[in-house]
């Protein structure tokens, strides 16, 4: 669609620009969530996290996301790169392309969670409140990333002649002059809706770790759905599912376990909270 934007003599990659925009808007959303609110709402984990901590954990997560996404991509690309290595046909330009282009979101997500976990361990910060604070920023930034995919023409949909079909006239990746399903825009819209749901859900009373569980569950379902309309078939697949669908299945099962554990421990948590609320404040001698 518009893989590169030319501003004067500077050429900007649309995908990178949209990812950057998404990253900054994600950081902005964290600032909104961590700023001190006048409304007392003790159920929100994000209230107990300072902005600087959340921002630094977010940056660790972004670094982990980049490394994880690249690592997963390299693992996928290995079968295609190895023959080139054997033929000694791997030029420095191709190596630069492989290192700077191509990312796998699920690898990025795992890397991002690992990054936030490393931050929490390194600086002795509680992991669960940090993760709960950051998680709505993930679908928000991801939604912008999918718009970037649409502009670059990657992650394109299956051939489709119906209404709302799109035709790429300028792309290095997508098949040109063919009507395709706009799967990138569909996923982007669903991700915006998911981010809105998480923020609204967080405003109401909820249980610890439930935000993370809901994200895993709903994104897993979204990805299972959108994978059905993808047309870039060179991604990995096993049996009747693509690699991403298999990872989605794992995410959905993990989410169900998290949410069910929350439900079973909800009674004990409520009892403890009531007990604390009834106790008089401890006298400091």
């Amino acid at each position: 669609m518009l893989p590169y934007m030319q501003i004067g003599s500077i050429r900007i990659a649309s995908y990178g620009a949209m990812v950057l925009l998404g990253g900054y808007i994600g950081a902005l959303s964290i600032w909104f969530r961590t700023r001190s609110s006048n409304k007392p709402n003790n159920n929100r984990y994000s209230e107990s996290i300072e902005f600087q901590q959340a921002l630094f954990a977010y940056l660790y997560g972004v670094i982990g996301l980049g490394l994880g996404a690249k690592l997963f991509y390299l693992l996928q690309a290995l079968p295609l790169v190895l023959p080139l290595l054997k033929q000694e046909a791997l030029s420095s330009e191709l190596l630069l392309d492989i290192l700077t282009k191509g990312f796998v979101f699920y690898g990025g997500f795992i890397g991002g969670v690992a990054g936030v976990y490393i931050y929490s361990r390194q600086f002795k910060k509680p992991f669960a409140p940090l993760a709960e604070t950051l998680i709505p920023a993930v679908p928000l930034a991801h939604a912008f990333g999918r718009i970037g995919c649409f502009m670059a023409g990657c992650c394109y949909g299956m051939p489709y002649e119906g209404r709302l079909s799109i035709v790429f006239e300028l792309s290095e990746v997508a098949p040109l002059h063919i009507h395709l399903f706009p799967v990138q825009l569909l996923e982007s819209a669903l991700l915006f809706a998911l981010a809105a749901f998480l923020v609204i859900y967080d405003r109401n009373a909820r249980k610890p770790r439930s935000l993370f569980g809901w994200y895993l569950l709903l994104y897993g379902l979204i990805r299972m759905l959108t994978e059905l309309f993808r047309g870039d078939a060179l991604r990995g697949s096993f049996l009747f599912f693509s690699t991403s669908q298999w990872i989605s299945v794992v995410l959905i099962i993990t989410a169900i376990v998290i949410l069910m554990r929350n439900t079973s421990s909800a009674g004990r948590v409520d009892e403890q909270q009531n007990l604390y609320a009834q106790q008089p404040p401890t006298t400091v001698v």
Binding site: P3, I12, A13, Y15, G16, A17, V19, L20, G23, S48, I49, E50, Q52, Q53, F56, L59, Y60, I63, G66, Y73, Q76, A77, L80, V81, L84, S91, E93, L94, L96, D97, I98, L99, T100, K101, G102, F103, V104, Q122, F123, K124, K125, P126, P129, G148, C149, A152, C154, C155, E172, V173, D232, L234, R235, Q272, Y276, T282, T283, V284, V285
Partner: protein
């Protein structure tokens, strides 16, 4: 009890005759004091709490509470300076178009060092390091990062 007695009572010289004001004379030291050195504490005596605040079970400690001794200042300052230098190198390599991948790597390492320094001690150098590396990473994103999810496409493009 006259005014003089009250003054001496407050200094601990005499005991009050008022039974309500008398401490239990069972050999227990006053609350909050250790027993004298060389003496075993009497039965029932408990170590007074070091702090008046004990968190409830499951309650997270205050994020600002110092859980570990602060790291040496020299190490923190070294990290901050290294972060700023790496940020400058990353920006220069990106702006001049020399080895952009090197710039990306420098900015990632510099950002981690800057965050480490800023978490341990707030200083202007550490803040400058974080900001410079953030700018460098942002430039990387818009300059060299592109999306090619189809793994075969890169190979096709290269041919």
């Amino acid at each position: 009890m006259n005014e003089n007695d009250s003054q001496q009572l407050s200094q601990g010289n005499i005991q009050s005759s008022d039974p309500e004001q008398q401490q239990p004379s069972q050999g227990y030291p006053p609350v909050g004091q250790q027993p004298p050195a060389g003496q075993q504490p009497p039965p029932g005596w408990q170590q007074p709490p070091a702090q008046g605040y004990q968190p409830y079970a499951g309650q997270q400690p205050n994020p600002g509470y110092p859980l570990q001794p602060p790291p040496p200042e020299n190490k923190t300052r070294g990290s901050a300076i290294a972060s700023m230098v790496l940020g400058i190198i990353a920006l220069l390599s990106l702006l001049l178009g020399i080895y952009p991948l090197l710039g990306l790597l420098c900015s990632v390492v510099g950002l981690v060092l800057g965050i480490n320094a800023r978490e341990n001690q707030r200083s202007g150098v550490a803040t400058a390091g974080v900001v410079l590396n953030l700018i460098a990473i942002s430039l990387c994103a818009i300059a060299i990062v592109a999306c090619v999810t189809c793994t075969g496409c890169i190979i096709t493009m290269a041919r």
